[in-house]
């Protein structure tokens, strides 16, 4: 172990840690607003990576049909509620029209555009446009009907959703893995140490997303509404903040962060339809370190997980996973010994 190896390992740890930090933040965001532990977060990552790979290979990805199916299902549920004259029925206006038109537009784009030759920015935009709506659609279909259930029920449903999404991933993307061309194909020399352009890109995008999330939650009205819903659900409802809107908005952000992480991680290694889970699990450790409450500590914790993973892989590669996951135990012990018990607000 000399300085050069330490720098290389640190670089590797930080670039992995940046991805874990993004996932940790979205898990904390979703949990605080909706009390759902988003286990399927990893599936957004693998879907993002595999969709990007399919687009770069020029194949119209079958994910557009999943999007169409979910949009149709959501529209059907809306129509059913109106027909049954339920008091929760939404007014069938622009949002409904959007649900019907958006998948058609996407299908048209995916099948007519020359996918493989598009500039990379457009390819990323197309990937995000295909995957971001999946978040609010899944919230609408799966979690909104049980939004008031105890957190344990939400967790079990989230696990069930994760298992089905892995199965759907196998159906849509096949068992083979895929990787994409690097976003930035350059090596930068900083003080005699070679840093990959890809690493800098990952860290830059992660910082931009974290900064955007921070600005969103502190400077915009919608962001403050989300923070209010996170702090006290009943109070936010009394103030006129729709919990349904809050849920859909957080799931939208979670899908955005997940898909973007997938796009960032795809050039580094081959992603399979089931590799998203273990990546999100490491982000989950970061969010546990933040107590599922604090954003900065969750982000720092996730970066620490990345660094510990890199260094323990160097020193004891056989026990790397054991070391990383055993981290949870002292953190949980410390959290449970130092925090005061608070009655859960069953809002």
């Amino acid at each position: 172990m000399n300085a050069q190896i330490a720098v290389l390992l640190g670089q590797d740890g930080i670039s992995n840690g940046a991805i874990y930090a993004l996932l940790a933040l979205s898990i904390v965001l979703v949990f605080t607003v909706t009390r759902v532990l988003l286990i399927p977060q990893g599936e957004f990552v693998s879907y993002g990576a595999l969709t990007m790979a399919a687009i770069q290979a020029g194949q119209p990805s079958a994910i557009v049909w999943l999007l169409a199916l979910l949009c149709a299902g959501s529209a059907a549920v809306d129509v059913a509620q109106v027909l049954m004259r339920s008091e929760r029925a939404p007014a069938l206006r622009w949002a409904f029209a959007g649900k019907l038109l958006y998948p058609l537009v996407m299908i048209g784009l995916v099948y007519t555009l020359p996918l493989a030759t598009l500039p990379m920015a457009l390819q990323i935009a197309l990937t995000l446009a295909l995957l971001m709506p999946l978040g609010p659609l899944l919230y609408r279909l799966v979690f909104q009907p049980i939004a008031d259930a105890p957190a344990l029920v939400l967790l079990i449903v989230a696990i069930a959703l994760h298992v089905s999404m892995v199965g759907v991933g196998l159906l849509v993307f096949g068992p083979g893995g895929a990787s994409t061309t690097p976003l930035v194909d350059a090596m930068v020399e900083v003080g005699g140490v070679r840093i990959k352009g890809q690493t800098l890109c990952v860290i830059a995008v992660a910082l931009v997303l974290i900064g955007a999330l921070y600005l969103l939650s502190n400077r915009t009205l919608y962001g403050k509404a989300l923070r209010a819903a996170a702090m006290n659900r009943m109070g936010a409802r009394l103030m006129g903040i729709s919990p349904v809107f809050a849920g859909k908005a957080t799931f939208f952000l979670a899908a955005l962060v997940g898909a973007m992480s997938g796009v960032l991680i795809a050039p580094m290694t081959a992603i399979y339809y089931d590799s998203g889970f273990i990546i999100s699990l490491k982000g989950f450790i970061g969010s546990i370190i933040g107590g599922l409450v604090s954003y900065p500590i969750a982000a720092l914790g996730a970066v620490a997980v990345g660094l510990i993973e890199a260094f323990s892989a160097f020193w004891a590669s056989t026990y790397k996973e054991i070391i990383v996951f055993t981290l949870i135990i002292p953190v949980l012990l410390w959290l449970s010994l130092t925090s005061r018990r608070v009655e859960e607000d069953e809002a």
Binding site: I5, L8, L9, D12, N16, G167, L170, P175, G176, G177, A178, S179, I265, M268, T269, A270, Y272, D274, S275, I278, I279, A310, F311, A313, F314, S317, T318, K320, E321
Partner: protein
């Protein structure tokens, strides 16, 4: 329910019974992992089942297919169900090495011969009482390893580094290579492990680079074979990189691209079929299999499918011999089938020529592997 519904139900039942297929005489259970992490192996195997012989001599053969989703508990459950409910005479599968190891005890207790198309030699070596019921239709690791080490000795390799998967496949390879390297005067200077789900093996390859070996062997199977090699190349490793037969997939070439050019591996002749001389008996078998598979599925098969096809060929030879001693569906038939499989001599199959003995239930010799090099994104025979 009313008389009318009762009548229609009875009528339906009679029609269904009349339309039921004639009872098959020999039942073979097939368990593969068509979903889950091992699906890259299990899907071509599942697609080969329609190509297996359905009539052997006078007997009709029925194949009962089950998917174990790459989960070892599922494999055990499915095999137990096949043995107790479907009364199978033989089992082909499971696809994964840990799944196969988990099932051995149960097939041995029930006396059902098992043909396992798995990579690990642990299912047949060292030979124990339960393992007498297991036959392996893939090349043993030590045959591949001997070919690789032979090439290393020819290239005057003195130090070797290994990056292995942290599972039974990698473990067995480390064991086999440690033995062979010691016998051939090659020193193993670094052994690192990684997991299938790892997104980066930078640390492990840095450690291997620091030891500066003459050659590096990557012992993994499927997609994970690519990551350690591309990481080593990215970090500037200039020595020769060897792969095991676990890298014998089209995915290896697709995911590795230019970075895996020059890799040497030893694998089945199916990868370099056009270059193999016509005098090789397995060439015709393999071409026929590939043509039949392509006609049915529209794409070329991976070598994993050929392992199941070979199991079918082994059974095709052994079932008539066993049928002379006992009736299918009985315990005596299964014991006779096991004995007949063990006596297989010079059976030409797609992967090589099988010669089973009581001590060697894998049956391959040097005709079962070829030294292959990756050139310009294609497999080429190493001359």
């Amino acid at each position: 329910m009313s008389i009318r519904t009762l009548k229609s139900v009875i009528a339906l039942a009679i029609v269904a019974a009349a339309a039921a297929p004639a009872l098959a005489q020999v039942k073979i259970g097939v368990v593969t992992s068509a979903t889950g992490p091992t699906s890259l192996v299990g899907i071509p195997q599942k697609n080969t089942v329609p190509l297996l012989p359905t009539k052997i001599g006078d007997l009709t053969v029925e194949y009962i297919y089950r998917d174990d989703a790459s989960d070892t508990t599922n494999s055990v459950t499915e095999v137990k169900k096949l043995i107790s409910e479907s009364n199978i005479d033989a089992l082909i599968g499971p696809s994964g090495s840990p799944n196969a190891v988990g099932v051995i005890q149960f097939v041995a207790d029930a006396g059902v011969p098992m043909l396992a198309p798995v990579g690990t030699a642990a299912v047949v070596l060292p030979m124990t009482e339960p393992k007498k019921w297991v036959f392996k239709t893939t090349q043993n690791d030590d045959i591949i390893a001997k070919a690789l080490v032979g090439q290393m000795v020819k290239s005057k390799v003195k130090t070797l580094g290994m990056i292995a998967l942290n599972d039974p496949y990698g473990e067995n390879w480390v064991k086999v290579m440690t033995d062979l390297a010691a016998k051939n005067d090659i020193k193993i200077v670094a052994t690192e492990r990684f997991l299938r789900t790892d997104t980066s093996v930078t640390a492990q390859s840095l450690k291997v680079l620091a030891a500066a070996p003459d050659a590096v062997l990557v012992a993994a199977a499927g997609g994970p074979t690519v990551l350690p090699e591309t990481t080593l190349v990215d970090q500037g490793y200039k020595g020769q990189i060897y792969q095991t037969h676990g890298a014998a997939l089209p995915d290896f070439l697709k995911l590795g691209g230019k970075k895996v050019d020059g890799t040497i591996l030893a694998a089945s002749l199916m990868l370099v079929l056009p270059e193999v001389p016509d005098s090789n008996p397995s060439k015709k078998m393999a071409s026929d299999y590939i043509a039949a598979y392509e006609k049915l599925n529209g794409s070329k098969p991976a070598t994993f499918g050929a392992n199941v096809y070979d199991a079918g060929l082994l059974l095709q030879k052994a079932i008539p011999i066993a049928a002379q001693k006992a009736k299918p569906g009985t315990k005596e038939f299964r014991a006779a089938l096991r004995d007949a499989l063990e006596q297989t001599k010079e059976l030409v199959a797609t992967q090589g020529v099988y010669n089973m003995t009581p001590a060697d239930h894998s049956g391959f010799d040097d005709r079962g592997r070829e030294l292959i090099v990756v050139k310009d994104g294609n497999w080429k025979l190493l001359k």
